[in-house]
């Protein structure tokens, strides 16, 4: 059977896009046709220029804010040479260009009159120590300067991988510090698939719920339980989900968990104004939505319970376990192991769960370059913990 291919990934008007800059810094921008996107010292470009363009390329900013597709540089095949750092002494005077000259070049570069390549060439030519460097060290020097002066960027799709990576790097508190390897394990452990019905608690602004939704298709459903009156699943707005995908999410406040739905009885006053009618209309829709959501919850037999919460994990699980089906997974994430220990102990001793496991994720990135392969020098301190268990069906009362 030949599957129908998905549409090619291109930047669409109104979409959010992650812009990765030469410094490896990144920002999320909403691409609106009339806007300029400013990347600070890396220049500015017209958002309209990016609309319709494909992901996977590097784009170079040209004079006037237009952009040109740029091939990504391949490996630098620096050879091992006899040079070493024996004769190199730190000397601020080895750069023969003055501070003012360099600043002038930078200004010209921002205006688009000088290319980054030309700046880097001037810098290396005027650096007395450059020739004494090893080839590896030369290529590292050039890379460092490229990260400073290149006026280019890579647009990245707001996929779960990229969005989680972005927030983990720049605002981990927002997503309760969940790293992408951990989030990926949550999806696998919970056995998320296109038409699963999933009950979720996500106090990390919807990163987990976004990941769940990304794996849904027709028939799939996510019910998020949140504190307060309205849910805060801010991450969803960056995901460029279709209206169909967004419609797979329902949310319910904890305060409505035991709510009894009474029939809607509000009557319009005589001589009702347009405002009265609109208000009643709105309340009626809200009432219907709440009633539908509660019906869904109370139908129970959910296919997974996925939790990332600021509240006591055991208390959350105790309240929601009755809605989870038999032979379905309970998966709880937390940044701290301690927050999961009480629930771990309780699950282990409970007769209703099998295969109770507490794991910590471990991820290591390597630099792979000819002759220079090693783990990266800085890495994240940790990726979080997952407590998971198989929920059993309650014993049948027939005998």
């Amino acid at each position: 059977m030949i599957a129908e291919r998905l549409d090619p990934a291109v930047v669409k008007s109104g979409d959010h896009v992650i812009i990765r800059m030469p410094s490896t810094n990144a920002k999320i921008v909403c691409i609106k046709p009339d806007n300029m996107v400013s990347l600070g010292k890396f220049g500015s470009f017209k958002a309209s220029e990016l609309i319709g363009k494909a992901f996977g390329h590097t784009y170079e900013i040209e004079k006037g804010g237009s952009i040109a597709t740029h091939t990504l540089a391949g490996f630098d095949n620096a050879d091992i040479t006899e040079a070493n750092n024996q004769g190199i002494v730190d000397n601020p005077l080895s750069q023969k260009m003055t501070f003012e000259e360099i600043e002038h070049l930078k200004t010209m570069s921002l205006a688009g009159d000088v290319s980054a390549k030309e700046i880097i060439q001037s810098l290396t030519e005027n650096n007395e120590a450059f020739d004494k460097k090893t080839e590896f060290s030369k290529s590292k020097y050039i890379l460092r300067k490229q990260r400073k002066f290149m006026k280019s960027f890579v647009p990245l799709e707001t996929s779960v991988f990229n969005v989680c990576g972005y927030f983990f790097e720049f605002n981990p508190g927002k997503i309760r510090g969940i790293r992408i390897d951990t989030l990926s394990q949550v999806l696998s452990l919970a056995n998320v698939y296109s038409c699963a019905r999933i009950l979720a608690v996500d106090d990390g602004q919807g990163m987990v719920i976004s990941a769940l939704l990304s794996r849904m298709a027709e028939g799939g459903q996510v019910l998020g339980i949140h504190d307060g009156d309205v849910s805060n699943y801010d991450v969803i707005r960056y995901m460029n989900f279709s209206p169909a995908t967004k419609s797979r999410l329902q949310s319910l406040s904890w305060s409505k968990l035991h709510h009894n739905v009474e029939p809607f009885t509000e009557h319009l006053p005589e001589n009702a104004s347009a405002d009265d009618m609109a208000g009643r209309e709105r309340r009626m829709r809200g009432h219907a939505k709440l009633s539908e959501t509660l019906d869904n919850l109370r139908r129970g037999e959910f296919d997974a319970l996925v939790v990332s919460t600021n509240y006591n994990a055991k208390s959350v699980v105790e309240k929601l376990i009755p809605y989870l089906g038999g032979s379905r997974m309970l998966v709880i994430y937390d940044q701290s192991k301690e927050a999961l220990l009480e629930a771990f102990d309780w699950l282990r001793k409970s007769q209703s769960f099998l295969n109770v496991q507490l794991t910590e994720s471990w991820l290591r990135e390597y630099q792979v370059l000819p002759g220079r392969t090693h783990p990266t020098m800085t890495t994240s301190g940790g990726g979080g913990f997952i407590l998971s268990a198989i929920h059993l069906a309650p014993a049948q009362q027939d005998c």
Binding site: E342, L354, V368, A393
Partner: protein, 315 residues
């Protein structure tokens, strides 16, 4: 069944029988069938009509087992190992990196024991497709049989083919390619051919040795792949226990706390000491829940090398 949960067990269903935490097996439920193991005889008729996740007694009430719904994660634990298999942390990370979700078209080679294949199929169903290639004829046949038995033929196509020698034989269809081969660098050109060129393509190569990674990365670079990144992905399992953590004052007072007592002994001692136990709790002598990594852990599986292929420039 791997991409569609059911509530009740019916005749003909595949059920994962859970004996204990490190012993599981699968059974195809058939009227009047039975399963014999050290816990007793379990009649299939007793399973039919039960909810998944139920516990059933053996015929003479001697023992019991749990009846679980098959999932890719459980399949990874029960799959007959014909080769080294992929485990959950790698499977999960690769799936996210390759952006697998419903509708994606994926190429995998080799199929091996089919552990990852089941997970990919679950994730890309119902509209995606997995083309998986295995060069070992018997393994390919066994995997093919499993895909049929598991109702995955709409989503998975398996071919017995040596892709290192003959390539994948497909052009411009795949969103993602996964290589688990002894010489992945020899499959890179063909992988490029198989990837779509109208959108960004993604590739992952899974190799246990660093030398393989280096050769693969060079081949990827030569063939125009970009953003070459390599990761190692593992998990650490924890166990917990409750232990007393008495103040050293007890030892200064000449007492010697027996830390080796098991839980029941400690409970007994607490009861015996009666009113004293309360004081000792106030002394901070109550038990504390402590966690530690389990003694033996998986230290290495494979290196995961990723790269992307930019779409061909529009003409």
């Amino acid at each position: 069944m791997f991409h569609q949960y059911k509530t009740f067990i019916e005749n003909g269903d595949l059920v994962v029988i859970y004996l204990n935490y490190d012993s599981m097996l699968t059974v195809r439920v058939a009227t009047d069938g039975s399963l014999n193991n050290k816990y007793g005889t379990f009649r299939h008729n007793d399973m039919i009509g039960q909810k998944y996740g139920s516990k059933i007694q053996s015929q003479y009430g001697k023992g019991f087992v749990y009846l679980l719904h098959p999932t890719p994660a459980l399949w990874t634990q029960v799959v007959p190992h014909r080769t080294q298999i992929l485990y959950l942390p790698d499977i999960s990370f690769i799936s996210s990196y390759l952006d697998l979700r419903p509708g994606k078209v994926v190429i995998e080679s080799g199929t091996g024991s089919g552990s990852f294949s089941h997970s990919i199929a679950r994730t890309i169903a119902p509209t995606g497709h997995l083309h998986t290639f295995e060069y070992h004829e018997i393994r390919a046949e066994k995997a093919r049989k499993e895909f049929v038995e598991h109702n995955l033929t709409d989503i998975v196509t398996i071919e017995h083919r040596d892709v290192l020698a003959n390539g994948f034989g497909v052009t411009g269809i795949a969103d993602a390619v996964f290589l688990d081969l002894p010489a992945p660098w020899d499959a890179v050109a063909s992988a490029k051919e198989a990837l779509r060129r109208d959108t960004v393509g993604r590739i992952c190569s899974f190799s246990p040795c660093i030398e393989q990674v280096q050769r693969t990365a060079l081949a990827l670079d030569e063939h125009g792949f970009a953003d070459i990144r390599m990761y190692e992905c593992l998990v650490r399992d924890y166990e917990i226990r409750s232990l007393p953590l008495p103040s050293i004052d007890e030892a200064i007072d000449g007492q010697k706390v027996n830390f080796k007592l098991n839980k029941n002994d400690r409970k007994k001692r607490k009861l015996e000491s009666g009113a004293n136990s309360l004081t000792s709790q106030e002394d901070g002598n109550s038990e504390v829940m402590l966690s530690k990594p389990v003694d033996n852990a998986r230290g290495h599986t494979s290196y995961l090398t990723f790269a992307i292929l930019a779409p061909a420039a529009a003409s």
